[in-house]
Amino acid sequence: MLAWPYNAVKNSADLTRIVILSRVMPPTMRRRFKRKSRGLAALPKGNLRRQFTVWRLSVFFASTLLAAVVGCGDRPAADSPTNVDASAPPSSSRPLSAKTTPLELGDAFAPLADVVATVDPRQDQGWESEAFSELAQSRLAALEVAVRDPSQRTTEKLAELATDDFHCNELRPTTKEVFRDGAIVVHRATNPDVRIASANASVPAGSAALAAGLRSLSAAYDDVAHADVHFKFKTIRVELAGDSARTTSYFQAVGHVAGGLVQQNATWRCRWKLAEGQPPKLAEISAANYEEIRPAAAKARQFVDCTQAVLGGTESFRRQLALGADHWHANLDAAFGVSQHNHGVAVGDANGDGLDDVYVCQPSGMPNLLYLQQVDGTLADVSAQSGVDWLDISRAALFVDLDNDGDQDLVLTLRWSMLIHENDGRGRFALKRIVDTKFNLHSIAAADYDRDGNIDLYICGYSPGPESAATDVFANPVPYNDANNGGRNFLLRNEGQLDFSDVTEQVGLEQNNRRFSFAASWEDFDNDGDLDIYVANDFGRNNLYRSDDGRFVDIAAEVGVEDIAAGMSVSWADYDHDGRMDVYVGNMFSSAGNRIAFQRNFRPGADEDTLGQLRRHARGNTLFRNVGGGAFDDVSSDAAVTMGRWAWASLFTDINNDGWEDLYVTNGFFTTEDNGDL
């Protein structure tokens, strides 16, 4: 007999999917997207960056846990009425709910309460490992005090943290100098292998051993009492087994010495003893990969913040840029959009005086800013006269001479449109072309791909824009770890006279072109004389399009640079001086993701490929070494450049002029007044 049905979801009467979507979505949202409304949404949707991490997302499938990264429930504000001070009116408004509890304002998350409730790992069945990791992290952080203050390092006090048979290897082992320039010295452990001293009478055990270990760490500082040492741990693995547990954490300590800061880096593998009703105790610490960075001289100089000197003289800095995004979102109608503040900055010579100037992209409702460099190095705000002080949400801008007339024209991506402005040679811009798309535009990468002497533009369209959003109700990435429902990227060929034509399809760039692209960068990676392009995509695979004389083929899979992760940025450089350009990709790193994605109860039933991709999503940044012959090696771990935290921009730059390209990574997702995050 015939089997029936094939697929319950296909049952004609089963419209549940729509039913429930309507519950989580503001009824007005679809309308707003439907009209050509520039997607200014009460809840941002089209432009979502990953709002939460893979582990938690994935867990939504599995059932539970929003766990550690949010790590914060909806705590009621606890200010007492006595905090209200009439002498300081602006800072004294107080949440009404704290006082008017009888009014019971209601749960602002009601329709999503079940999901939001999973933010607390302690409430979340099956994720004891997360609850433990929170505890372990706080126990490790407590060691900081014992390093700073010898009086806290007594065996009695440390007995609360360490078991009687606690052992550790040298927390600050014997090192050798591996690098020195005029500014810093880098020491590394002579033996990076971990050796735990075996238990014998001559080696102290228990809290005495811990005290000795911490004392050796503190010896890195000339005067530890005044060094203001801070510890930071990122716990990336947790294994619970009965009454014991193991953790792996990145350890970092920073403190002051004469001439600057000392930084201690290591990987700590810890064993813990658990007992009912008691906080866990350390049974073992094995410190690996110890690295110590010290100032090279008593007056070594590093980077310094001169923002105020360069920008502080302008009113627009004081009144606009000196205030954070949260301030502005609180002062603008939600219709202006609540972004994650993905706005770029461009350096170029706008007025042709030979000095670089700066253009700053702003969120919706705030004017973009053009600053001209003065002879004294300060910036002067000329936005109002520039012709490019758009109030529209602006993502990225480039200064490029599009018409080869010797001045820098300006291209700018707004939310769904790209504007092309012509420079009059003196830093005043006239809007010449508007490229409207259906996609949420982000980075622009310019190059003359067809070598005709005119600069062409590659534009990243991150997610579907208004029209698609009206139909694909939720334009969330699907599947999370390998999404292929994102926006389109465009290659616009410069036809001269500031005319552009869309040649994406014609040149082969339509291949794998529905990813969530944040950034792209041109480079001739195979040294064959034409420019190839690498595209970093959120939620999955990246692209490397090889140019064969202006015809492109995506060879990312073939040469192993797909880098399935949450790609945000791309930077090329020959970091190893072999004459071939290597590529560094900024991704998201998450300690919680690392922990959870390796637990047995994480997405039970998922296949190994999917699990691997999800784990990879938490690993962090990637360095691909170009080994020639069209091949790349992933050297990220060996090069120790993965842990760039929740990365956004990443760039190669030789910060110390030694001829070797260093790396800088900007990061951090969402810092608010709420301090509950991990």
Binding site: A108, V254, L332, D576, W648, Y664
Partner: protein, 678 residues
């Protein structure tokens, strides 16, 4: 899928309401030691900015021979300038390229620098746009290391053929390299290297007070207050003929009292501006509300506050909270004091969290009743041009906030109120544009009312609202789908099909609904139409399960040879898929159409299927029996069918048992089974 989307929605909400998430992360710097493994020098370098970092651009801003950083961030200050003050004793060379036959900026040029003694060059490419949303200076900056001089520079111009060598270069100098000149022209900065001060930046991340101008003034929800007469009544601000400030305060809140005193002193200015005030006291309610009111009035009187004082009930506070959440980009709890500027028609024009100055109120009164251009200008903190101004937050968003607060009843009342106003507005509307606007507003309200009615299980009313909404604004695809869902709940399949059909008429490229409609049509007795729709869907999105559905529709339509093809397609896309294997075997064994039958293949498929599974199912045995019978193996057919019959009887499947009994008779009579021709 569902949990996934809900997860995104929940996280969006958490962010908009100010939950920190992967925040307080410090930027990272990895130093290239030249040996493959980088050193994490984030803190030691002074580069570990703690902002939510986003974009990054580089330039040697102070002309001291190293690269400085401009960093765009989400938290304050939103632009930071970090000056590279790393003193290493290393040398540099800076080059600016000028194209003549290639693009003027020479973007894409590859520059090879040979130092004295170098066999291999240090290579760099000139980019325009890399990293993330950023653009760095077009000066190419080379670190040279200590005690080495540049020997020559080879430029591969971006035309893929021109290679040019430049000599006579000195360390720590800047040169312009003009294509074709063969000579590096020294370039002098207009000033010596700068030493910039490092003054602190006065940065503010958020402020407790805020002001939001509502882009499209929205009706104030009905607010029940206890007034002077001891009667609870709805505050009617629609017919006062002048604007009103609704202030929320408490007797224990000192800033409230300061504010009220200031307003009282400005009484005559309020009068001149035609601005009225109603102050709602939100002190904890006691049993005796009359006494509460007396207490509030006494407190106001002591301040010389001459305006109306009233006590709101619980729903009034919920309403005001919902309103401010709906319109403010950053959602925070309703504070005291808070004020709502309501225009003469009872619409909210501006929302103030925290105290508001008299001057501000009097200035904002002018936007009451203003046109949209005036309102947009007042709503942005700084002036500028719009390419594409935002679509205002729809008034229905207020209802959504009510729903979020678990107050569906308030939401429905608000919308019902709104719909009668919009109906009246529509009746008055003149001109196509105004009528279009009025009807689309009303359509949105009705749609939301439909959803709310559906949620409280009144499908009849929901259908009525949706129908009216579609009447006002046809071509709302999502409303057609909502209506389809509503009819599904009412069991009206024909109408479900009509609505899905209407949705498809708006967007044909929609496999999910094409399939859904196909199934309905088939169910409703038109398998030919179903098959056509399935073919349409498969052309967009080929997949095994839809091919199997197509096969079923074709069978129902009596086209068995096409059905066999469709099953084969399904199995190509999903080899060894049991239900399709079974069904194909069944058709091959039993089709009334001789040309469609193939007993050998049927047996092969059915045997393979039974070998694939550990457990036997009566329906698959049924298929196997039919296949044996078709090849003349009647004994095997009888054995399999008897087994199937036993299993069907044991599991209480009487219908199958009856069919098997009939078939068994045939097999025993050496007659293969035939499906009845359609």
């Amino acid at each position: 899928m569902l949990a996934y989307d809900r997860g995104w929605a929940a996280l969006n909400r958490l962010l908009r309401t100010g939950k920190s998430f992967s925040g307080r992360e410090r930027n990272c710097c990895f130093l290239n030691l030249g040996g493959g493994r980088f050193a994490d020098v984030s803190a030691a370098s002074g580069l570990d900015l703690i902002h939510d970092g986003r974009s990054l651009a580089l330039a040697d801003w102070d002309f001291d021979g190293d690269e400085d950083f401009f960093i765009a961030s989400r938290t304050a200050p939103r632009v930071t300038f970090l000056r590279n003050d790393v003193a290493t004793g290393n040398h540099f060379l800076a080059l600016r390229l000028l194209g003549t036959t290639v693009n003027r900026d020479a973007i894409g040029a590859r520059v090879e620098l040979y130092r004295d003694g170098d066999e291999r060059p240090i290579i760099k490419t000139l980019y325009a746009g890399n990293g993330y949303l950023g653009q760095s200076s077009k000066w190419l900056h080379f670190g040279l290391g200590a005690d080495v001089s540049p020997r020559k520079v080879v430029v591969r111009w971006p035309d893929g053929k021109t290679v040019e060598t430049f000599g006579e270069l000195a360390s720590d100098h800047r040169y312009v390299l003009r294509q074709g000149s063969a000579r590096a022209e020294p370039w002098q900065p207009p000033r010596p290297a700068l030493v910039l001060p490092t003054d602190p930046v006065p940065a503010i991340d958020r402020s407790d007070s805020s002001r939001v101008v509502v882009l499209r003034p929205a009706r104030l929800p009905g607010i029940s207050v206890l007034g002077d007469d001891g009667v609870t009544a709805t505050l009617d601000l629609t017919s006062r003929g002048k604007p009103t400030v609704v202030n929320v305060w408490a007797t224990w809140c000192k800033p409230c009292l300061v504010e009220m005193k200031a307003w009282g002193e400005a009484k005559s200015r309020f009068a001149e501006a035609g601005l009225d005030v109603v102050a709602l006291c939100v002190d904890d309610p006691t049993e005796d509300r009359t006494a509460d009111l007396a207490k509030a009035k006494a407190a106001a009187e002591r301040l010389g506050f001459p305006f109306t004082v009233a006590l709101p009930d619980k729903s009034a506070v919920v309403a005001l909270d919902a309103v401010q959440r709906a319109f403010s980009g950053a959602q925070r709890p309703l504070p005291v004091p808070a004020s709502f500027l309501v225009d003469a028609e009872g619409r909210i024009a501006a929302i103030y969290r925290g105290p508001v100055e008299v001057e501000q109120l009097l200035a904002d009164v002018k936007i009451c009743g203003g046109g949209s251009a005036e309102i947009v200008a007042a709503a942005v903190p700084f002036p500028g041009p719009w390419h594409d101004p935002p679509e205002p937050t729809a008034a229905t968003t207020v209802a959504w906030e009510f729903i979020q607060a678990g107050q569906a009843g308030l939401a429905e009342r608000y919308l019902a109120d709104l719909s009668s106003i919009y109906e009246a507005g529509l009746a008055r509307a003149e001109g196509d544009r105004e009528r279009w606007r009025a009807s689309s507003q009303l359509a949105g309200v009705l749609e939301t009312l439909g959803r709310l009615a559906f949620d409280r299980k009144d499908a009849q009313e929901a259908a009525a609202k949706y129908l009216r909404s579609l009447e006002l604004a046809p071509k709302q695809r999502h409303v057609h789908l909502e209506l389809a869902r509503t009819y599904a709940a009412l069991g009206e399949k024909q109408k479900v099909a009509e609505q899905i059909d209407a949705a498809l008429a708006i967007k044909r490229d929609d496999p999910e609904n094409l399939v859904r409609l196909a199934m309905l049509k088939t169910e409703l007795g038109d398998p030919n139409a179903g098959a056509l729709l399935l073919r349409e869907s498969l052309a967009i999105q080929p997949n095994a399960s839809d091919y199997a559905l197509l096969a079923r529709a074709l069978l129902a339509a009596g086209q068995s040879s096409d059905a066999v093809d469709a099953f084969r397609h399904a199995l190509e896309l999903r080899p060894n898929w049991p239900p399709a294997m079974n069904d194909l075997a069944w058709v091959l064994a039993t089709s009334a159409d001789a040309a469609s039958r193939n007993g050998e293949q049927a047996v092969a498929l059915a045997e393979k299927l039974s070998a694939m599974s550990d457990t036997e199912s009566p329906s698959r045995l049924d298929t196997l029996a039919a296949a044996y019978a078709e090849t003349g193996r009647f004994d095997d057919a009888v054995a399999a069918a008897e087994k199937a019959l036993r299993m069907a009887e044991e599991s209480g499947n009487a219908a199958l048992a009856e069919r098997l009994t009939n078939r068994l008779e045939g097999y025993r009579a050496k007659q293969p089974y035939r499906d009845a021709p359609k």
